[in-house]
Symmetry: C2
Subunit: 321 residues, 2 copies
DNA sequence: CATACATGTGTAATCGATTAACTACGGCCT
DNA sequence: AGGCCGTAGTTAATCGATTACACATGTATG
């Protein structure tokens, strides 16, 4: 910056003014400064700027698992929305681990992100409290924690789940295997509660950890126990369950019915295509980014609840069509 | 930091020494400082630290498309490797657009990342030159650019592609539709050249853009032209092609054979499972991160070429088993 | 013609860390 | 006792920007 000032025959203050579009500098000075910048290939140091202004124009996003397409889509949507407001997003991948989540959150805070979006790995509120105590704007995404005091953006699957339950019961299933998420996550618990609630005593629940491998294992147990229908509570466990079904040579929907929470582009391509509960991922990501930006600007955004919807495709059997 | 110093009755210099594990401070002083830090909940400002030390302990990673599981896996691997060396990764999503790629690269440079990993959207070397001119360590990943002067990490699919060609020809296909990547990307061009080369005159090429929609369209054209086998040059275009095949009610492999470059966890679950050329994504990501770290440490890492392998699964027909 | 006032630019303090250079203190040797 | 040295700690410069305040110049006003 000093070089630029020297080259243009002005002070660094003037260079800064030109850079930030202040009213002051004469068109002629501005021209000289811009020429010098161009010539020297000068680019301002964002670290120094942020240090001075205490604003990084950056949002932190800590998600549970980058390899889960559900979160990848959310990340993408957050980024789009943030960019359109002049913000940049730094993504941290917690890998469904609470410690790694905490590590990332702290790293991001150390780098002074202007705000934080968090998909909490567990419903333990301590990390959330830590962030709030630091006075950093925070929005929870997809999942919440016990006694959350910050805005939350999530999808409501209750309606879709009860509709799904109705279908399953209507189709005559009496042993319905539920591959649930971890009970210490809000989505894991809530989805399972709603579904088992509307299935009466027909549900049998096995908990997984939102990963493929746990889906296979849970499916194996449930099939062994005589389940005639499986419902996986996220797409990765659904993938695992599907693998197990195939490995056993069972036919969907003849031998066993299957439904999955979360849609995937390839689900319609299976034979039969998989019935799912689709979450509005893009809308969730955008809404979360908007809420966070509002919070940063001193407003008090409300919680957002978007609705997930049941998409019937064939993997439950004839009855559904 | 000043507060901590005050609380501990020392100067900020001493606090800094404690923080950075310098030899000087007495165990007793160190104790007092740590207590003060704990009590005040102090966390050092990474911006200020980086400004002073000119090191951010951060790598930039600009990938072509976050929604492409191939890149998501790479990102994940890069991150793992980087973290194990005490570095953090900031991901930029270029969305297969050269402008967005340039924007992200500049943003990352402005934030003074210690090094940059780039999956170039096109083979135009100007952006790479710009980075090199700035003296920032740079490693290219998956794709290269014309006349690249920096280390490159990529997968070599030649062997697998010629093996695939042999299978297709052996199975008696005479009209083989190739859904190619954009000709202005190194992977797009090279893969296509190798495959069409070993197919002699049997190949018919349509270029896509590495996205699902273009895969469907290309497949449609090729099927209309009488292709009895399709090879998609990346997984998203493969997904699109598969959709088109299904939409037309064609049976794989009876009516048409299909092979895809890039493996996906769900490919084995299709009926028949899809034959693919699998790239060692995790190894690519790790190798790239290692090369970059070496470069940052003043070494001169060699290019890395890992080999992709053909995984026969059934979508080419009986002949392959 | 002196006074006020707007306008463009420069000076220097500041953000929060690191670190070279310096100081103060105590112990050891002759 | 006096000189020397090693050690623990302080002072202050520095990284590269932003910005309040001071200053100089030019124009309008009474």
């Amino acid at each position: 910056m000093k070089d630029v000032a020297l080259h243009a025959g002005v002070s660094t203050a003037t260079v800064s003014r030109v850079l930030n579009g202040h009213a002051a500098p004469t068109p002629e000075t501005r021209e000289r400064v811009l020429a010098a910048i161009e010539k020297l290939g000068y680019r301002p140091n964002a670290l120094a700027r942020s240090l001075r202004t205490t604003s990084t124009q950056t949002l932190g996003l800590v998600i549970s698992d980058l390899l889960n397409p559900f979160f990848a889509e959310i990340a993408r949507a957050v980024e789009d929305e943030a960019r359109s407001h002049g913000y940049c997003v730094v993504i941290g991948n917690a890998d469904e681990s609470a410690e790694q989540e905490a590590t990332y959150v702290r790293t991001l805070l150390d780098r002074r992100v202007d705000g934080l979006l968090l998909c909490p790995a567990t419903d333990d509120p301590s990390l959330v409290r830590e962030v709030s105590a630091g006075g950093v704007p925070l929005v929870l995404l997809d999942r919440t924690v016990r006694g959350a005091t910050c805005p939350v953006v999530r999808a409501d699957g209750s309606e879709a789940l009860t509709a799904l339950a109705r279908r399953l019961v209507g189709a005559g299933h009496t042993r319905i295997g539920v591959i649930a998420g971890p009970p210490n996550t809000s989505t894991g618990r809530e989805r399972t509660d709603v579904l088992t609630g509307s299935l009466g005593g027909l549900a049998q629940v096995v908990h997984g950890d939102f990963r493929q491998e746990s889906g296979s294992q849970a499916a194996a147990r449930l099939i062994d126990d005589g389940a005639t229908a499986l419902v996986a509570m996220d797409n990765l466990m659904g993938l695992g369950a599907l693998g197990e079904v195939r490995a056993r040579g069972l036919q969907i929907p003849h031998d066993i019915a299957l439904a999955v929470f979360d849609d995937q582009p390839w689900f319609p391509l299976l034979d039969p295509p998989i019935t799912v509960i689709a979450q509005p991922t893009v809308e969730m990501g955008r809404a979360a980014a908007r809420s966070l930006l509002a919070l940063i600007n001193g407003q008090q955004p409300d919680d957002v609840r978007l609705t997930a919807r049941l998409v019937l495709r064939g993997s439950l059997g004839e009855a559904e069509l």
